[in-house]
Amino acid sequence: MRGAFLTLVAGALALMGCSVETDDPADEAVTMGPQVAPNFIAQGNPETLAEWGQLQHIGSALVLGEAVQPYDLNTPLFTDYAHKLRTIWMPGGTAAQYTEGEVLDFPVGTVITKTFYYPTAEGADEGEVLRDTSNDFFAGDTLRLDNIRLIETRVLVRRDAGWEVIPYRWNDAQTEASLNRIGGIIPLSMVSDEGAADFNYVMPNVNECASCHATNSNEDAIHPIGPKARHLNRDFVYKAGTQNQISNLTDAGFLKGAPDDLTAAPKNANWTDVKAPLDLRARAYLDINCSHCHSPVGPADTSGLSLEPDASGAALGKCKLPIAAGAGTGNRRWGIRPGHPDDSILVYRMQSDEADKMMPEIGRTTVHKEGAALIADWVAAMDGDCT
């Protein structure tokens, strides 16, 4: 039965133009068939990712479940150069309510997934991954797994009592993702044009998930971070063609109340878009990488530093004294010294990969050189000075 089922889905792949090459005999003689049906699992911690039906592993491809929508963010969180496949799905008849500033108001039953993966070179050694940001490897509704190393898939599910995070780790054979609430340190080697460098990919445990996703330190509840209008408001190349992601969610029946004219809706810059103003690129980067903690109510409000889009002045770090940064000051005196990235704690902490100095505190073990350079450029371009 299972074999037949796989056959059907692989057939769908073939039809959309992907030539799935695999050693799995089940993939031969494929015929057209439906995608797997996604599930909302109202309680417990399912042992495998497959039970959710959001993503289906077939041969050498990861295929979205029926009606599951992929999305990207204008500017994403940096996670050690990992690529991410994000999806969202809601049970039939339910839809999120559009909100302008905060995370969309999702109904019970919403399932969001984020799969972390790296490209690999043909015939690469075990644990060797590529730092290659040129291609997302995802097309239509399929992530081709040839030369991909899947690491983990995190499920965020909106249940009656609130959001829960349920993490899954892909096995070495890359065939199945199993429940893993304890996380782990996965030693990898990243190959780039600078050579190979060992690093530890850290899969967070579920408590550490809350370190970022419990965005209001006055309550324990966790929330999604990415699905806000300003992060989602961009085009995506869907199977049926290019469309604005917010419009797509509306058309898919997953969103109500979004404005028809999305040019007036909030929209963060793409941090890599060199045509966009530097200030907008930097603020978009700080927003998605930092503001879930560094907001007036986030866990890092202890520092008095806010990196939300509307923060300014000393609250944004300008000439601001550190509070409890410890070694994270890098012997610098101000969060941001305008015009002087080398005197700014903000830049120092982004340039560090040491646990007691770096920011964010978790979620990376390597330095995002391009991101840190962007913020350094932004600080360098600021007027004024500290006294």
Binding site: G304, A324, A327, G330, I345, E354, A355
Partner: protein
Amino acid sequence: MAGIKWKGAVFAGLMSLALTSCGGTSQPANEGPRDLTEANSEYQTTLQEQLIDAKPGDVITIPAGVYALDRSLTLNVDGVTIRGEGHDKTILNWQNQKVGAEGMLVTASDFTLENLAIEDTTGDGLKVNGGTNIAIKGVRVEWTGGYSTDNGAYGLYPVQTENVLIEDSIAIGASDAGIYVGQSKNIIVRNNRAEYNVAGIEIENSVDADVYGNTATNNTGGILVFNMPQLEQRGAGTRIFDNDINENNTENFGHEGTPVASVPAGTGIIVNSNDDVEIFGNRVADNNTANVIISSLFSAGYADEEQSASFDPYPEGIWVYENTFSGGGTSPDGLELKALKTLLFGMNGAIPDVLFDGYVDDEKKVGGKLPDALRICVSDEGVDVLNADMPGGNENPRVESELYRCKLTPRAPVSFALADTKG
């Protein structure tokens, strides 16, 4: 005094001096960091699983033993107790820490940690971020390789907590504060020992703290009460009493930019930009810069208008009385203070027991005087006060003890159920 030029603030000067000596200093003749060859490195997974699956009311016990951990432990369930068999028996060591900004991170209320040791964390030892009813008892936090700039910043670090009790605990070697309570309310820190930290015990931007029965020795500064700008809560209302605060003369090995980096080595007690602080019944001895310093953030070199617009940097309502002072002030940290001491008190003299930087808010004066409640009072005859005249560029430093012979209203003790129950 007109001939004396201390260009640049005394404390700011001290800070830059301290910096020249903080490139990874460490104390000599230490036994060295803990040997982990026999340590149990498997247990951290078990322990973290217990923390993830904990239910309110659970007591998680950790048997005696040395445990090596390489990432932070995290707890976010209310009502959990983590208990070892003693701070010298149940030892959690993070010498090989790969990830995490602290050893243990707790974001939960009704939390108790007791009878174990947290050692050699890369960053902070225990951080409790938010929560009500936090008890830390019989916990030792230590960097076992001796004091060093490379050590983690804070030992025991509750922040934005309410009703927090730290007792019978030990903090050694923190590159910032051994015991640090920040942005909290209702605090009791009692019967602890803090040694070889930059700051032994620090209360920052906190309201209503009682600090008593502690021993603070061999730190850069023994007990600190600070306020920092840009934070939602301004601190006020700390009582420091019945503590032994001796020989806090360790060089400042903190990181520049941190608030404590401006603390001169040889500071017994320092109140910086904080208000309503009562210091009494302590035994304060042989702190080489001064047994007590009362100062403003201004004298740490921060007079930025953007900071001061929303921040009151003046220490007000400070009352020092019935302490036992001995020694101290004989070898202040930094050339400027040394020169000041020699000039005013001679080669064999000493800075008086109370050193005040001299910042007074003229705008709060009524008829040329501060209202009584805002005054600095040093009640006892024989306890001298040196005004270093920082606002005047140190042109007119002077001993003016008689101006401080006043009394304030005693503060009520801090009380909350967790601390009132003897256990």
